[in-house]
Amino acid sequence: MTDIITESEEAGFASDLTQSTTFGESVQAYISRVRGGEMGALPSVLGLVVLFIVFNFANDRFLSNLNLANLLTQSGSIIILAMALVPVLLLGEIDLSAGYAGGVAACVMGVLMVEHDQTWVVAVAAALLTGAAIGLVIGLLVSKLGVPSFVVTLAFFLGLQGVSLKLIGEGGSVRINQEVISGIANNNMGVAAGWIAALVIILGFAALRLIQHRRKVSLSLQHQPLAVVVGQIIAVAAVLVVVTYVLNQNRSVNPNFPIKGIPYVLPFVVVLLIFWSFMLGRTTWGRHVYAVGGNAEAARRAGINVDRIRISVFMICSSMAALSGIVAASYGGKVSTSSGGGNVLLYAVGAAVIGGTSLFGGKGKASDAVIGGLVIATIANGLGLLAQASYINFLVTGGVLLLAASVDAISRRRRSATGLG
């Protein structure tokens, strides 16, 4: 390091804060961040709490063990599709075709298993490859030709519907009764296995955060106070224990056939969440995605291959959409020409935005998809229980999406007014 300052001069950075000293101060700092428009997951968590209270009063079956398990299983494919969209949204792009990309991938899987007697491994691999190929073409068109992603993916939205019609024929559907695939949404982990998995995740998370905290303190890097770290660990542990406890209760209406245990789709979502949180938060690729989303020109000047980042996020989006399509096929027990259609994509975009991912790019996390996906699934589930006409469902979901996008736009304005990032 070149030493280019004389000793007499004041070095402002030498005395910069490495810790927001007390728990109280960091709570205050959080409040002022929220006021400045840096709300993160707060609106969606509050929304979730409000929805649970409202639906609980509206229908006493809402908080039953059976319905909560249903709700979590329903949310699986929405959450995965929302997670697929997060990297694309981080670049300030959009993928309108993600729903049908998942549908087509699921069609490929179904046709291979049912009509060509392939194993599920081959079929799933082919579905993922289908997704990756769709994403590659979209990415190339957006980055190399410079066609806006809105238009490219709108074209794919239409084109892919044609592809799935061609694959399984007009009005047809393919039944998915392969054990592993249909087990994702329909089978449960053993009670003991569920508790062990929850415990492993809690201990792993706690160990990781505490080790990280100690290392930061010992190297006098910037760190949060210990109380905040412990608070986060307790919050994660509490959520996992409650969810595991509820799902490990018997939820069957027929006393002769008890149903208990965590549906496999839940650990599947957790693994994806951990993986994408790691990729976005801890790797060079993730850092570059945020950089391109924040200021593409700055990223280019820093020597980042912006085109490659663009192509990679569209490939990831379509491949993850394929996973979402597979989970949806497992839940529905079939693949049809309308798989991935309807409001699937808007639910997923809504989930990501409600969770706190910005449509303007540069801001968002994989965990946003989980919280936002739960909000969307709760609305669909709760309104379904109330046996409302489906037009109300559309109106409410549309309204929530609009609300979330408005909150995003307003908080962005507040952020630039208060100079927060």
Binding site: T2, I4, I5, K216, N295, R301, G421
Partner: protein, 259 residues
């Protein structure tokens, strides 16, 4: 002054965009330990010249000589590898990232595949500590919350972090207040005194006369003069910028190589 051989020399550079011939046989020399000011009116070719130096625009003809050896620069990465750092007017920082993340952008330190945040944070802090900045709370502050002067400092500190040999500063004081301009100019001087070759692009002749050792004036894509700052007056430089020559400047056309 420390050295009489230039660290970087451009000889006879030509650059056209279609029919627009922007740079005509431009010669430019940057010396270690000196601040060379590049002045010229709007459209004189300053930005094009800087982008050619930084490897963003390929040059049509001419020689790019670094450390006495001719080199080929095909992209920003090549220029970076030579130790050339550009601080752009619009700063090229990502507002959604924090100071550390911006300073290491594109050159992140890694442990295997995981980002090495501890090393990056301590190195960034070390680099920033060597510069004088007030009122910045933390290196983990997002760039969106920094003032113009602080952002400029972060951008310049990046070049300290990477032990750059040449730093190109594009209008570093254009958007700054009086006190912040003072800080940045001090910083530029210290940067040069540490042995770095600095190229300062500026409209502001007060700034130029304050920190520059040499002045290269561009006029309509040609070098109007390359002179030591102490040999010229502000009025003569204004003439060079606006008319391309200065009547009472002895031997302006023949650039002297000593400062």
């Amino acid at each position: 002054m420390s050295d009489s051989t230039p660290l970087l020399e451009l000889r006879g550079i030509n650059k056209s965009f279609g029919v627009a011939h922007v740079l005509h046989d431009v010669d430019l020399a940057i010396y270690p330990g000196q601040v060379t000011a590049l002045v010229g009116d709007n459209g004189a070719g300053k930005s094009t010249l800087v982008k050619a130096l930084a490897g963003i625009y390929p040059i049509d003809t001419g020689e790019y000589v670094f450390d006495g050896k001719p080199v080929n620069v095909h992209g920003p990465k090549d220029a970076g590898a030579l130790g050339i750092e550009v601080v752009y007017q619009d700063l090229a920082l990502c507002e959604n990232l924090d100071i550390v993340e911006n300073m290491f952008l594109g050159r992140e330190k890694k442990n295997g595949i995981v980002l090495d945040e501890t090393t990056m944070e301590s190195k960034a802090r070390e680099a920033l500590t060597s510069l004088s900045v007030r009122t910045v709370k933390s290196v983990r502050q997002s760039v969106a919350s920094l003032s113009g002067g602080q952002r400029q400092t972060v951008a310049i500190a990046k070049s300290v972090l990477w032990n750059s040999r040449i730093v190109l500063l594009d209008e570093p004081t254009a958007a700054l207040g009086v006190a912040q301009t003072r800080q940045v100019l001090d910083l530029v001087r210290r940067l040069a005194d540490s042995g770095v070759g600095v190229l300062l692009i500026s409209h502001n002749l007060t700034d130029v006369f304050e920190v520059a050792d040499r002045i290269t004036a561009l006029y309509l894509g040609r070098v109007a003069a390359d002179v030591a700052t102490k040999d010229v007056t502000s009025r003569q430089v204004v003439e060079l910028i606006t008319t391309g020559h200065s009547s009472d400047l002895d031997g302006a056309a023949a650039p002297s190589t000593t400062a």
